[in-house]
Symmetry: C2
Amino acid sequence: MTFKVTILGSSAALPIRGKHHSAHALNVHEQFYLVDCGEGTQTRMMECGINPLKLNAVFISHLHGDHLYGLFPLVSTMSLWGRKTPLDIFAPAPLGELLSCMDNLLGDGPVFEVRFHAVDTREHAMVYDNKVMEVWTVPLRHRVPAAGYLFREKQPALNVRKEKIDYYGLDISQIVAAKRGEDITLEDGRVVPNDQLAYVPYVPRAYAYCSDTMPSGKIAGLVAGADLLYHEATFAAADKQLAKQTGHSTTVQAADVAQKAGVGRLLIGHFSGRYKEMSTLVDEARTVFPNSEEAVEGRCYEIPIKRNF
Amino acid sequence: MTFKVTILGSSAALPIRGKHHSAHALNVHEQFYLVDCGEGTQTRMMECGINPLKLNAVFISHLHGDHLYGLFPLVSTMSLWGRKTPLDIFAPAPLGELLSCMDNLLGDGPVFEVRFHAVDTREHAMVYDNKVMEVWTVPLRHRVPAAGYLFREKQPALNVRKEKIDYYGLDISQIVAAKRGEDITLEDGRVVPNDQLAYVPYVPRAYAYCSDTMPSGKIAGLVAGADLLYHEATFAAADKQLAKQTGHSTTVQAADVAQKAGVGRLLIGHFSGRYKEMSTLVDEARTVFPNSEEAVEGRCYEIPIKRNF
């Protein structure tokens, strides 16, 4: 029951040698997702051992090139590799029009189905779910419509304790009822409360991606309790005015969101190229939220399984 | 009077680790041009010490992603860097529509003027010139409309030999006339033929870029005498059928074009990822045209100045 995030790129818009534009790869229960897709993402995926053909869905936060321009070549490569599985792409609406425009003008469109889903960047809404996970939009505050994404495991089905099955001599129908959360009445009339029979196998985990954005209390509320939060911190604390002018956050502002949201761990990135010492930026964040780290490109951040039994 | 080509990328469509999609950077008399612009071209330019802001024009051969998808982020970066100089882009017509479509849908278009020029891929026509160079389209034979480009120095102005000025006591008007190619009549009635006074300072040089294409006698005719020819060789000689099916050339076919065209030097590239030994491919080409080489990524190929005096 894997839940991990690989930072393919987390550099700000102006390219820096050896760094890469925004793209995070998620592995949730061996299903694969991409959040943002800057130029070179397909190469970064290969370098990090992530097979583009295994992608289930791509979530784009906003339509600035440094979060988007790797998508077209990635789709093209999947097509050349003969992908058959449809690919879901979630993004602000104009991307859907642009994809159609490209198909019409360039020809040689993908040989697999691209299912485009326009997200409303003003709403906190569930846009995707499967058996084990939901994805929710998180309205961001940037210069253009932008949404973060919250990846949250669903509450798992109850497991029934094997030793209790034997102890009480439960039959199949009683085991199924216990898995549904019901108390069980034994043949002798005794009632066994469900929590003595069944347990939640793990506590749902959550990862939130918030880039690009100015800080916001609303964001903090929506990502509250996430185990791992990636929040952009384009600027150092001293450059607060610049952050405001450009619709970005400082290190301290990102940490403040993490602190208000009570997340487990904060990753900061999207640092402006003007800063040479990443450790100084992380130190700034730690003054507000000690469990802050740099989102290091190529590194994989795992959220370990949590049990409350 | 530099004339050199830097291979930023020359890999075929399917991405290969450590290789890059098509893009060649030209420096002709310290003016800079780009031919094709695969994903990651801006990064490759920086790695090769070529400043994107110095680009005069971009020439796109055809609208397959591996020759194109680096253009949007490159334009975006130049805009973020505050480029003011207009940029000329030459390509098949649909790219112009796509650029408009992107401007309309994504907003935040470039802050400098992008001057799009649709090229007719069926014509051999001069599409660009400046004081020292002309660029001509070379119709290619691919699955989609495609044009190669021939970069040809113009015939330079004549230089007048200093020692002859002194010897004949030429005045300014006679020097100017000699530079125009005229014979000079001296005061004593003697006529000095122009070729005794003036000389061509260098023989115009030419570089031709032909990718992607099937081989063609017509191409050979159009690039005849080029000092340097880049011709794609996606397939080994044994895979001739595959080359034909996909609208590409083999090593031997590329070399045959070079031989027919009587070029100085042949660079082959755009090799399919199925081949592991580039030297074998080059050896195949050399059986037909001995002066064949691999277009090695990151390498700069200079055409030295040629004088015929």
